[in-house]
């Protein structure tokens, strides 16, 4: 029983973590950094039996501190993330993804794209297969950024079109982006999940290039496939698409049926009501 209060490495670090936690919750970044400095030596000890090891802790805590601390720069942040990538191979893609998110939040689209491409080319034995989901996400986000580029090119083209210019180079680039984006977006929306933004972008692409059948099919899948989680937005997208396509009132009504069930207070219910009243039902 005398060992209960024995102060040892493990207990000391547990206490350290709780101080970090308090500091983070109170947004005391300096204090959090102070305690994190003392915590990092946990990396030299093995925690394989624990659920969350020190490398993950340090990654998550360090990210928070560096993101919010007034004296921290983006350069430091990036440097830190690169270090974290080397720390845990099982987490590599996850860290890459989060890094990309932060870059996007900071408006660094190009850097984000570079990181995504780099991550996509990563191979590490059986880990590649194990981290397959993260890889798909990385590809999806790259597809998303490709879509953004496509969109930019499209707008340039439209402007030039108004001025009477026909810019072949821009057009070629645009088509290139479309191909790259379409491939990746198509892949991710096959997996059951909530992919609103990916679906929207993909449908936009398909509509632009005139592939309405495919677009319809994609939206149907997204809304009606029972493997996908219930998602009101799926039905909204489908409805909006059908409306754009000028479909019959009957199809429009049937598209909103499930939305009516899951979100009775949705603003589209006004339209739904109106259409129902106009029809004989």
């Amino acid at each position: 029983s005398s060992n209960e209060h024995k102060l040892n490495f493990k207990k000391s670090k547990e206490a350290c973590l709780s101080y970090i936690q308090d500091a983070l919750l109170q947004k005391q970044w300096k204090r959090a950094a102070e305690f994190l400095t003392c915590y990092v030596e946990s990396l030299e000890k093995d925690y394989s039996r624990e659920h969350i090891g020190p490398s993950e802790m340090i990654w998550r805590i360090g990210t928070e501190i560096l993101w919010h601390h007034s004296q921290s720069s983006m350069k430091e942040f990036n440097c830190f993330m690169e270090q974290m990538k080397t720390l845990g191979v099982k987490r590599y893609l996850k860290v890459c993804l989060e890094h990309v998110f932060h870059l996007l939040c900071n408006g660094q689209i190009d850097e984000a794209y570079q990181n995504l491409s780099l991550a996509e080319s990563w191979r590490f034995g059986e880990q590649t297969a194990i981290q397959d989901k993260e890889m798909k996400l990385i590809q999806a986000y790259r597809g998303l950024l490709d879509y953004c580029s496509w969109s930019k090119q499209k707008n340039i083209l439209l402007e030039h079109g108004e001025d009477g210019f026909a810019d072949l180079a821009v057009e070629q680039e645009m088509h290139g982006y479309f191909r790259k984006a379409a491939v990746n977006l198509k892949e991710i929306i096959k997996i059951p999940g909530v992919w609103d933004i990916f679906v929207k972008c993909y449908v936009d692409l398909l509509e632009f290039y005139g592939d309405h059948n495919e677009a319809h099919q994609v939206l149907n899948e997204y809304a009606y496939n029972s493997k996908f989680p219930a998602n009101p937005n799926a039905h909204v997208y489908l409805y909006q698409f059908l409306k754009r396509q000028g479909e019959s009132k009957k199809s429009l009504i049937s598209a909103l049926k499930i939305l009516h069930d899951i979100v009775p207070s949705h603003e589209l219910m006004i339209d739904f009501n109106t259409m129902l009243q106009k029809s004989s039902k």
Partner: protein, 574 residues
């Protein structure tokens, strides 16, 4: 000192010991091949000197390493520790005469040196290249994993397993289990018989020497100095000379990652004293620092309690006979007497005195305090009466502040040292990479910590809380009077408080359940908890230890009454 031969070079007799244990002439620095030899001392009789020189001879391997034994490592550690104690003001004889002799005696008794090696026991380190087809000469040869688990230090399973597997793949015939020659053998030895040396035991040695010399350092103070870094303990192996390579199983022995516990060091010290067949220690008399009267005075001051209480502690001490020389002086090997924890005992005496005078039942002490407050308001002549309430507020505030500081320090403690440690050559590069990453991260986040730099090691001080009479805010209670709570009866000053509650009616059998009483399982008054908590902080031990001593004292004090079976209150239950 004891070596009396003339130096071959300069004919002087002025010897010192090198780190490796060889004699060197202090006049001309001639190093001999002779190692520490024992001449007559009080404790070592008729020992045949075994020249360890054969084994200690520094065989220069290709990379400049030398062969070294585990006990050499501990010897170095002890040396460093006692030097630190010297720097703290301990008398120099402790190093050269006392501790040195204790250590030599230990080496002899545990048959690690200064004796004829028992027949059959060879210092053959476990070699690695035993393939499965070899017939083992020793069918009980333990596996490496078994050895790793024997050590007391906390290891990580992953490292242990990876070490074990990496070692088995090496095909050299030299031992790679440890940097030392006998690392594996050391862990294998039967602990019970020979009192195997451990890191906490180094402190037991120190404490034993301190007690012998009757230095004014209690065990709790010693341990506090260790934690505060004034005495090397954690990572002291990084000061081993370069040639003594530390790896593998050595780490299990020398790298500890926890602070030693009072009980552990205390008990080991007594075991050690008995093991070494030491005679009765020098007497602890009334003028000794370790005598309860002296320690009580110190603790009363530190606890900001009135000096007048000292009369009471002395009375209690006298009444139950714990001030007697025979009670206080250590007699090794005597199993019948209870071992004395001087610091805990003194603290417990104060607690008992407080209970006698203030009852500490969460009512009476506040009542008394109110009376004192009234009196102090109306009558400012003749010095203030002690008010329990004010004292509580002042001390609690300081205690909370210090406790908070201490908790933060504990959370910020850095355990690893700069010297990278690896179990085997195989994971050396991995370890070094990790270390580099840790250093980088420390730099990065250290800069973001703001102006808060790591506080320097506080100067070692005997008092953790100090109160000055010069403070005009009245936060020092040393000079306050107890008049309000005392009365005169038949010429004697007694407490106005007529009652007393016992912490426990019956004492447990310490040998069976480890404690005399069980602090956690009963609800005691908050004031009692507070007072225990105060001394628990000062001594850096669990309150239950102080509680045990309190129970012991109470039972001695009220012995007669207990025998007659008390009529009134025993333990308060809410």
């Amino acid at each position: 000192r004891d070596f009396n031969e003339r130096c071959a070079q300069c004919s002087e007799v002025n010897w010192g010991l090198t780190d490796g244990g060889r004699f060197y002439c202090r006049s001309c620095h001639n190093v001999t091949e002779r190692t520490r030899e024992v001449v007559n001392t009080d404790f070592i009789t008729n020992s045949r000197v075994q020249t360890i020189s054969k084994a200690l001879k520094k065989q220069e391997k290709t990379d400049g390493d030398c062969e070294w034994y585990i006990c050499e490592g501990f010897q170095l550690i002890l040396k460093k520790q006692v030097e630190a104690l010297e720097a703290l003001g301990v008398c120099p004889q402790m190093k050269d005469e006392i501790l040195c002799n204790f250590w030599r005696c230990y080496l002899q008794k545990s048959k690690q040196a200064y004796c004829k090696r028992p027949a059959g026991e060879t210092v053959k380190a476990l070699s690695v290249c035993e393939s499965s087809t070899d017939v083992d000469s020793d069918p009980e040869r333990p596996s490496l994993l078994h050895l790793l688990s024997l050590s007391e230090s906390e290891g990580d399973l992953q490292t242990d397993c990876s070490f074990a597997s990496s070692v088995s793949k090496v095909s050299e015939s030299t031992s790679v289990y440890s940097g030392s020659v006998d690392g594996s053998l050391y862990l294998m030895k039967n602990q019970k018989e020979k009192l195997r040396m451990t890191m906490p035991m180094t402190l037991s040695f120190c404490y034993m020497a301190l007690l012998w010399v009757r230095e004014p350092i209690t065990l709790s103070e010693l341990l506090r100095f260790v934690v505060e870094g004034h005495i090397p303990y954690l990572n002291v192996f990084q000061h081993f000379p370069e040639k003594m390579k530390l790896c593998g199983l050595d780490l299990k022995i020398f790298c500890v990652e926890s602070w030693p516990v009072y009980e552990e060091v205390f008990n080991k010290m007594h075991e050690l004293a008995a093991f070494l067949d030491l005679p009765r220690f020098p007497d602890i008399t009334e003028s000794c620092f370790l005598h309860p009267d002296m320690l009580c005075m110190k603790y009363l001051m530190e606890a900001n309690l009135p000096d007048e209480l000292h009369n009471w502690t002395c009375r209690v001490v006298k009444k139950i006979g714990i001030g007697e020389v025979d009670f206080l002086t250590l007699m090794p090997g005597n199993k019948s007497t209870r071992k004395v924890k001087y610091d805990v005992l003194a603290a417990a005496v104060i607690v008992v005195v407080l209970k006698l005078l203030f009852l500490l039942d969460d009512h009476y002490e506040w009542l008394l305090s109110e009376f004192a407050e009234e009196r102090n308001k109306n009558n400012t002549e003749g010095g203030p009466y002690f008010e329990f309430k004010k004292w509580y507020e002042v001390v609690k505030h300081s205690l909370d502040v210090e406790q908070k500081k201490l908790d933060e320090e504990r959370a910020k403690y850095l355990w690893r040292c700069e010297k990278p440690l690896f179990y085997s050559v195989k994971n050396k590069s991995k370890v070094l990479k990790r270390r580099q990453m840790v250093v980088n991260l420390q730099n990065q986040f250290g800069k973001l910590s703001g102006s808060v730099q790591r506080a320097k090691k506080p100067n070692p001080s005997s008092f953790q809380l100090s109160w000055s009479e010069e403070n005009t805010d009245g936060s020092c209670f040393h000079g306050h009077s107890l008049k309000g709570i005392l009365q005169e009866k038949r010429g004697l000053l007694t407490a106005m408080n007529p009652d007393y509650w016992l912490c426990t009616v019956k004492l447990c059998n310490e040998k069976l359940c480890g404690h005399l009483a069980h602090y956690r399982e009963v609800e005691f008054p908050q004031s009692y908890h507070f007072v225990l908590g105060l001394f628990s902080f000062l001594l850096r031990i669990q309150p239950s230890y102080i509680h045990d001593e309190v129970c012991m004292i109470e039972h001695k004090l009220f012995n007669k009454k207990l025998c007659k079976k008390l009529k009134y209150n025993t333990v308060l239950r809410k």
